[in-house]
Symmetry: C2
Subunit: 185 residues, 2 copies
């Protein structure tokens, strides 16, 4: 029996948080035969530049689309980390960025604190693709969707001018997540 | 007191349904100071090519992000129309396309049956921008967000190569919706 996977992607507007969440949901549903709901709540925090997107993936129908306590929490700003890391389930997985977030290691969660932004900037020359890179790490670390499923979702999302760069970002994230997942915590 | 506005955008994958819903939510929140939630459920119907996105906009916090009975229903395929038009609230508004959907006029809703796709194809040479055109009509017909708010959201979404075409599509939709809303039902 599959455990219900509750993910929260958090960061700031413009980082492509929502796109990452939608692509994960699409990969799960269209290519893995699972069910998914994906939602955004917008309010005062969005006017301050914050972005958050929730995804729930399960092999049964999912009715309530918001995540209270995530199994998997992605934080791409310090503000998002400070706000959401207390909500992660004990034993959950926190995925965050070495350049963007200073972590407090007392959280009762596995930690994947990885240099997404540094690597993206080094390889791409700017921070575009950060969201897709992180998405690759989410897949490598959680195995909630297969890599070919995610490649299909990403390839289908971007037209040919951007496809190759995004697939490259995805594979950078998969490599980062794979290294992390084989290391001791 | 503002009435809670529950919208469902429905159609097929690739029509940009989700993007339209997100842009409407962003316009409401970032530029109108309202609250919004926006969600997608994916499941068996998505594997058949169907797409649906829900948006709730209100001046109070919104907790439950799914729409059961929409006030405003957008249908861009016959399948979506057949499935969802029975769910519209009495007195609600149905927005659909003359080329894509044959309507059964017995629905207890106001009907905006407009030539979005024909006009987009005629002006743009292909069906890209259909989602943004429909979004313009939603704004003109419902006045849930102002036109400048929606222009800002659309302009912020697309990089400069695509911005002008999308703003043009938006204004085509606003014109279609404005004509319709001033006509007798």
């Amino acid at each position: 029996m599959m455990e219900k996977c509750r993910l929260v992607f958090s960061g700031s507007g413009g980082q492509g948080i929502i796109t990452a969440a939608i692509l994960l949901a699409e990969a799960a549903v269209l290519h893995e035969g699972l069910n998914a709901v994906q939602s955004q709540s917008y309010g005062a925090q969005a006017r301050g530049g914050a972005a958050r997107s929730d995804v729930i993936i399960w092999d049964k129908p999912v009715y309530y689309p918001k995540v209270i306590q995530p199994n998997v929490l992605v934080c791409l700003t310090q503000t998002a980390y400070n706000k959401y890391h207390p909500t992660i389930r004990p034993g959950g997985l926190l995925i965050t960025d070495t350049a963007l977030v200073k972590v407090d290691k007392s959280a009762e969660a596995r930690l994947a604190w990885l240099p997404f932004q540094d690597q993206i900037k080094q390889e791409m020359g700017n921070a575009r693709g950060l969201n897709i890179c992180v998405l690759g790490a989410v897949a490598a670390l959680t195995q909630i969707v297969s890599i070919p499923s995610l490649e299909s979702a990403v390839a289908g999302r971007f037209d040919e001018r951007f496809r190759e760069a995004n697939l490259k970002a995805l594979h950078m994230g998969i490599a980062l997540g794979s290294q992390r997942s084989s290391a001791s915590v």
